[in-house]
């Protein structure tokens, strides 16, 4: 190969050895200080693409997760409200059963009618439950209170569904159609006619108690009331199954987040133990290059000629 070695060559070789040792140390040092093995795309182009993709996945999962949390808030608020409504309806059922046996005085019946009216207000209050500032029983009109307290039982919301994205192309309806159970009350106040739904029935019950019509209370009212209660329980079951789906989605998202974070860490994070060992090895190499360079470059024939040549 190379026959003659000149002083410039020796100096160049020493210098380039030191430079490349420093260059490797610099790269390792960057990995150590950032804890990442991908610090710019050129470190690993395909790994960079995977990193960006995984970050995007994680961002999407985090969106889904906040949607699931939000949806769970909705269903919890709905569950609480529906259980209050159910309690109120059950209390009314007791009152109707007592009034229907015909042994109560008119004063007792009027008192029951007053209680029924109060309970109707309470039910409408429950229907106006909000979560995070949004009415949960108003359809998609989440800024409008569905019912007004007082004698009017009209429904101000709509029947559009409120959905939350809980996965890619997977949306879940979190709104519950309480107005389909409660209805809009009596068409004309004091007249029994209406949509036949729960508020209609309750208003009729109140009117029948007021007028002491215990036979109507014992027959149609009680039947309508229990069918209303059934639809109420059906709605609670629907909300319960939505809560279940949200919980499943939540644990699925958590496990996806885990696996995406693991892959991300495998792709972009430096293996610290390995990097530390590399760092020590490279540092030793640099020290050796410096030592060798320092002694080789200094020595020449002149050191040994002494005064003979002078």
């Amino acid at each position: 190969m190379i026959g003659r070695i000149t002083n410039q060559m020796a100096a160049q070789t020493t210098l380039s050895g030191i430079e490349s040792a420093l260059d490797r140390l610099d790269t390792t040092q960057q990995e150590l200080s950032t804890g990442k093995q991908i610090n710019q795309p050129s470190d690993n182009p395909s790994g960079t693409a995977l990193t960006l993709q995984l970050n995007n996945d994680l961002a999407n999962l985090s969106s889904y997760n906040s949607n699931v949390t939000d949806g769970t808030g909705w269903t919890q608020a709905q569950t609480g409200a529906l259980s209050d409504v159910t309690n109120a309806v059950q209390r009314i059922q007791e009152l109707v059963t007592e009034a229907a046996n015909g042994t109560q005085s008119q004063a007792d019946m009027s008192a029951s009618a007053d209680e029924v009216n109060q309970l109707i207000d309470e039910i409408k209050q429950d229907a106006n439950t909000q979560y995070n500032g949004q009415y949960v029983f108003s359809g998609s009109a989440t800024t409008t209170a569905p019912y007004q307290s007082g004698s009017s039982d009209s429904y101000a919301g709509n029947t559009n569904a409120v959905t939350r994205e809980i996965g890619p192309n997977t949306s879940l309806t979190v709104s519950a159609n309480l107005s389909g159970v409660l209805g809009t009350g009596q068409t004309v106040a004091g007249q029994p006619a209406g949509d036949g739904l729960l508020l209609n029935t309750l208003r009729n019950i109140s009117d029948d108690m007021q007028s002491g019509n215990s036979s109507a209370l014992g027959s149609t009212d009680l039947t309508n009331l229990s069918s209303g209660l059934n639809s109420l329980l059906g709605l609670s079951a629907t909300v319960g199954s939505t809560t279940d789906r949200l919980q499943m989605a939540s644990s699925r998202i958590a496990s996806l987040q885990n696996s995406a974070s693991d892959s991300l860490s495998n792709t972009q994070d430096a293996d610290m133990a390995q990097t530390e060992i590399n760092f020590s090895t490279q540092q030793a190499a640099l020290t050796a290059a410096l030592q060798a360079g320092a002694s080789i470059v200094q020595e020449s024939l002149m050191n040994f000629l002494g005064s003979t040549s002078g």
């Binding site: 070789t13 990193t51 970050n55 020449s300």
Partner: protein, 457 residues
């Protein structure tokens, strides 16, 4: 026949002169041990024509040839022109790789990926903002968030586009500076080579070896080779013709170059510094044209810009499209991105949005969120991968060609470089030769002195 009386003195004198010339040349080598481009020199010695003495032997009557000393025929430099041409071709390649790695590295740095401030993360945040908007109760606040996030996306693309455009103008400026016909580096090297050509030809016509001038000329050609391919052909008068760029590659394959960059003592700049002669060639200039050619508007950087414009266009089209197709009520929701800005430099959030309190329905916002991870992001990720791959391969070629250049440079040094140990050894050898010749002089002197004293006595 007899031997001429003072011939021995002349022979010893020639030895003294040869040793002195050798010591002087050793001194020159040592003095230039660190001079870049210096080739070590050596004194070429031959024996002088001998003195023929007929019938030297009185017994046999046979003649003989008597040695007459040493002659200094020339002082030449030790250099391998084959290694020179290898070095220059590798030097062109290394400069091209350095330029590529440097400029592409800058393009990569402007991407700022993979960090939380790169466009990829900004886009993630942008789409998340639309998701929040779609579930929020107070959409006034969310409106400000999506507008802010949208502006961040537009700003990122505007900045990226601006940085690549700046790189393009840097490339053009560097190219223009190097090829400037009066002050450019190529012109300056070419002029030095032409001037040295003239001086070397003068020296050679006077029968002299212009070692040091040739070193300077080789150095200038080495320097020139970093800008593009060079091809050197030596003329009989000692001048060299230097072809440049694509013409050099053609000349290497046997095509005659009618207008070489350096033609003896003249320089042809305009024919050689054209885009057509340099485009696709090696060296800094070829590499710069490959990155961005301002005349045709093409090059790697232009391709980057085109891809970025594609990302911007996809973003504007898909986001605005998702909003208008989710617009179920028939109410015309405002476009999110200004539809007139469809390039990376011009993308902007629709300015009329800021005055609208809740511009979008939840369905429209969630249609935009569904675009997360869609075509625009995929194009951008592919773009980042492409830039990363380009930089990686540029850096790999850079380190390979750098070590090849060092290897060839070392071979050249091995032939032409000065070894101080060798020079010291030579110095001792020549010093002793000088001392020995001096001793011969004094011995002859002593001989004559004793002869003369006998005669006078």
């Amino acid at each position: 026949m007899t031997i001429p009386t003072y011939m021995g003195l002349q022979t010893a004198l020639s030895g003294l002169e040869a040793a002195q010339a050798a010591i002087d040349t050793t001194g020159q080598n040592i003095a230039n041990a660190s001079t870049p481009g210096y080739s070590r020199q050596q004194v070429n010695l031959t024996e002088r024509s001998p003195l023929t003495i007929p019938a030297l032997s009185s017994y046999t009557g046979q003649g003989s040839q008597l040695g007459a000393g040493v002659d200094i025929t020339s002082i030449t430099r030790i250099r391998d022109t084959f290694l020179d041409s290898q070095y220059r071709s590798q030097n062109s390649q290394t400069s091209a790789d350095n330029t590529n790695a440097q400029i592409l590295g800058q393009a990569q740095a402007s991407l700022n990926e993979p960090t939380s401030s790169g466009l990829s993360s900004v886009l993630d945040t942008f789409f998340q903002g639309f998701n929040t908007y779609s579930t929020a109760s107070n959409q006034d606040g969310s409106t400000q968030t999506i507008i802010g996030d949208g502006q961040a996306v537009a700003d990122s693309l505007n900045t990226l586009s601006g940085q690549i455009t700046t790189l393009q103008s840097q490339v053009t400026q560097q190219y223009d500076t190097l090829t400037d016909p009066t002050s450019g580096a190529v012109a300056s090297d070419a002029n030095s080579i032409a001037q040295l050509n003239v001086q070397i030809a003068q020296a050679q016509s006077a029968g002299l070896n212009a070692n040091d001038l040739e070193d300077q000329r080789d150095n200038a050609i080495d320097d020139l080779s970093q800008y593009s391919n060079v091809y050197v052909s030596t003329q009989s008068n000692g001048m060299v013709n230097v072809s440049f760029g694509n013409a050099a590659s053609a000349a290497q394959n046997g095509t005659t170059d009618a207008t070489p960059l350096v033609d003896g003592g003249t320089v042809n700049l305009s024919q050689n510094l054209s885009d057509s002669n340099l485009s696709g060639s090696s060296g800094t200039l070829g590499s710069l044209l490959g990155l961005y050619d301002s005349t045709t508007g093409t090059g790697t950087l232009s391709n980057y810009l085109t891809t970025l414009n594609g990302v911007a266009n996809q973003l504007v089209t898909t986001v605005n499209g998702a909003i208008s197709s989710a617009d179920s009520q028939g109410a015309t929701a405002p476009a999110f991105f200004d539809p007139s800005g469809t390039t990376a430099a011009t993308i902007a959030v629709n300015p009329s949005l800021s005055s609208t309190s809740t511009p979008y329905t939840a369905a429209e916002a969630s249609a935009v969120n569904a675009l997360s991870g869609g075509s625009a992001e995929q194009t951008y990720q592919a773009f980042v991968t492409q830039v990363g791959g380009d930089v990686q391969s540029a850096q790999n070629s850079q380190s390979t060609s750098q070590s090849l250049l060092t290897a060839i440079g070392n071979q050249r040094q091995s032939v032409s470089g000065v070894s101080l140990d060798e020079e010291m050894t030579n110095l001792i050898q020549f010093q002793q030769a000088y001392q020995a010749s001096a001793r011969v002089e004094s011995t002859i002197n002593d001989t004559f002195t004793s002869l003369l004293s006998m005669v006078s006595g």
